[in-house]
Symmetry: C2
Subunit: 495 residues, 2 copies
């Protein structure tokens, strides 16, 4: 057996361990009664240890060296590169740093739950300092091994190939037009009349509607399910994708848009090519590309006026309200495109969301590079919120720099993915519009050509090309913010 | 660290792997969409390999030898003995035999699904011959290591301490009175008028009723759940017990009695002592004792007249049928104690069930000991069915010797557990009746003293004493068939 084949088998084995983790993790979030948590956490920690042992098995170094000398097809070369990337990510950190990180992260996150509620920045900052210190050590090690800058070395974990130089360019462009765009949209929307549909919307009916919409969006129920969890997510494995949502009896749109969002993530997973199953080359390209698929479904498709013409009658039927004008497609379109600056990122609309992301990016970049310290965060947060969204968070840590979970467990470099996803999605849609009349297709209830495009240009490529190449092959150009801007202007100012 | 402690940690680790297996197995049966099956089976097979590697780790032999020389408390001595028993079970068979068994079992079982439907005994028997041959090899190896006879060595896997000599004695006693008892019961019931409640009984209402009854039976929903699967079972782990049922819109009693049965299994698991969690000493004593708990709940408690007085109004309320005389406690009692000889074991009532088990026991015992061959099975089956239940299965393999799944995968030695469970349950109930007025307690809706007795005498003992000792400590005598007979006479002839 070639060393390349041995590596393939090894990574398929790792993916089987990841499968067990995905299902037990889904169960923990969606099914498990509370009393099962301790034993579950212990069982999953054991699994993580076994995964780590396998992912860092000492023989792998030799296998990679040998495989690199074997005669391989171009596809195998790429597959090998992706296996090696995965191996290096797992191998670079010394075990004691991994453990220290895990402990500090758990501690910080656990305390954060109550500290956030109590607005206790000082206490929180003591834990966060430790987390940042360890993240800096990690960044230093990864930077030395990859030749990247420290923050870029972390960014690379989530968005391979993306750099601070690139992000600074993209985000400064967004910053140059975003505040004034928000202002204009707010002015325009001030004169629009929108009615809020009055609840209750029974959960069972919301569930039926969700399943119906998922089917229309091509979700394959033979290879996945929809359930409920406190924090909605897309989990499971490509042949069995588990998405979740959270229903609110008084508002059906948030759960429904959440379901559409997760359906986008799910279709990417379900669409990954079977031939590379279990191998890194067959996995989703990056967090940003993943988010581009969920945002394509949610923002590019579902919140558009033509799509609301599909959704509105489905909703009216599901809730048996054929005469409720609040459920008209016109009103639902207005409702689902409201723009309002707010404190909380996860509640933000499509237009203000990038401001939240850019703010976090700028702070975490400088934090990891050592240009600022944890103690500087609140003031910077307040300054940037005021500058980008006109809102001050002075003294309000709960709704300011303590609102997110990401930093508590040391996930620095993740935030940019959200806005990269929005930009990728807009660029993909612009490319699709050059090939077909999207609005007509939607009005004809014929989404298949759109899905085919995504399948061909994104899903079936998995990680076989770089993000850069994927963008160029799919859209003819590298990522740029122009399409995102055009999309926002078109939707929020012209219509 | 002592070697004893090392062993404890090792077995706790094994129990964490078993946890992952239990949850992913539950998911596969109760949640997984069909398209997820291949990847799931591969992931679980990988887990089985890892479990086997850990369970047969080469250092364990030395650890056991060292631990046996350490100064241990009496409890530790027992715990060590149970760990060693588990280790020996896993270690005795050579790897190639384990693999051959697994392959032959899968092949036989897979083909059996269609062969059973087609009544194709000849084709089936070719696969079964291979399975029996491997089971005989296994039995031979286990017999040599334990000093037991071949069949006893397999029996010991499920019912440690039980022997053919003992079973022959118990079962020949049952055989001496069972056929005539069945005859008498049939005569008596021939004059009774029973009405079948008319459906439909909506699934949602059956589900509510099930949950309600489970709560009254003390099922802890903080540490477990109820779901649906094709073949009902009790799975999960002690702190998170997953039971399943299968609803039929036209008949609520079968699902409900199934739920009560699985609740008995579940309470045993939930009641196992926390101090021994993850260790063999802390596991259920045997398959027979496990079945005794489910049958205690189902047969001793739920199908009794006083309990039907609790169930009937709950059912009437759940289905909103306060005036349906078919849902009266008197009618439901009659309905749930019907006796009718039939071909199918899993559909059998409490009285005819032992006949099905004894028949299988006698055949598998002789098969493993080499006194008969696979080709002899159909004739023996027909002869025994005719003798015990007055039904001929000549030429009808589908409803005869091909009806069960157990032999297809080589689980010889398991069948006796069902009837042992029924006898243990009757003996436990007889002992409880000496201490308290069970019928009065049920009528007062005060089941707690009964549960406390089970908890003290069975659940909290786990595997810390032998089955024999457990019986003697709980009931003052060794297992005997007399209590089971008394129970049947009392319920089916006297009332
Ligand atoms: Zn997302
Ligand atoms: Zn049972």
């Amino acid at each position: 057996m070639t060393f390349y084949s041995k590596l393939e088998q090894h990574y398929q084995k790792l993916s089987r361990l990841a499968h067990l983790n995905a299902i037990c993790g889904w169960d923990q979030a969606a099914m498990m009664p509370e009393g099962g948590n301790q034993a579950r956490s212990e069982a999953m920690a054991e699994l993580a240890v076994m995964h780590h042992e396998q992912a860092t098995a000492p023989e792998l170094a030799d296998w990679f060296a040998q495989a690199e000398r074997e005669t391989l097809t171009a596809e195998q070369v790429t597959s090998l590169k992706e296996m090696k990337r995965s191996w290096q990510i797992n191998n670079l950190l010394p075990t004691d740093l991994v453990e220290e990180k895990s402990l500090a992260g758990s501690k910080c996150e656990h305390a954060w739950r109550s500290q956030r509620a109590a607005n206790s920045w000082h206490e929180f900052s003591l834990n966060l300092k430790k987390v940042v210190e360890l993240a800096r050590r990690e960044a230093q090690i990864r930077a030395e091994a990859t030749g990247l800058s420290r923050y870029d070395a972390l960014l690379d974990l989530y968005e391979p190939g993306m750099t601070t130089a690139e992000l600074d360019k993209l985000f400064s462009e967004v910053k140059s037009w975003l505040p004034s765009l928000i202002h204009q949209v707010r002015e325009k929307q001030g004169t629009e009349k929108v009615s809020t549909p009055a609840g209750p919307f029974p959960i069972e009916q919301q569930k039926s509607l969700s399943v119906d919409v998922m089917s229309k969006l091509g979700f394959d129920f033979h290879h996945g399910r929809l359930d409920v969890s406190v924090h909605p997510f897309c989990g499971g494995v490509p042949t069995d994708v588990r998405i979740t949502t959270r229903y609110d009896e008084n508002d059906f749109t948030s759960a429904l848009m959440g379901v559409v969002h997760e359906t986008g993530h799910a279709r990417y997973e379900q669409g990954l090519p079977a031939k590379w199953r279990g191998l890194p080359i067959g996995e989703a390209r990056s967090m940003g590309i993943h988010e581009s698929q969920s945002l394509f479904f949610e923002m590019q498709l579902a919140r558009s006026e033509p799509f609301m013409e599909i959704l509105a009658p489905l909703a009216a039927e599901a809730f048996d309200r054929s005469n409720d004008s609040a459920l008209s497609s016109a009103n639902l379109t207005l409702l689902n495109t409201r723009v309002k600056p707010g404190f909380i990122r996860v509640d933000a609309d499509e237009v203000t969301y990038p401001a939240h992301v850019i703010l976090r990016y700028e702070i975490e970049r400088d934090l990891i590079e050592g240009h600022i310290e944890v103690a500087d965060i609140p003031e910077l947060w307040d300054k940037k919120m005021t500058e980008y969204l006109g809102l001050s968070t002075k003294g309000n840590y709960t709704d300011g720099c303590m609102q997110d979970i990401h930093w508590t467990d040391g996930s620095f470099g993740y935030f940019p993915s959200y806005t990269l996803g929005a930009m990728y999605a807009a660029q993909f849609m612009a490319a699709i519009r050059k090939e077909m009349n999207v609005d007509n297709l939607i009005r004809e209830r014929n989404l298949q050509p759109i899905f085919n495009w995504l399948d061909k240009h994104i899903w079936k490529k998995a990680s076989s090309v770089s993000t850069d190449k994927l963008l160029i092959e799919a859209t003819g150009e590298r990522l740029n913010a122009e399409h995102f801007r055009n999309h926002l202007v078109e939707r929020y100012l012209k219509s």
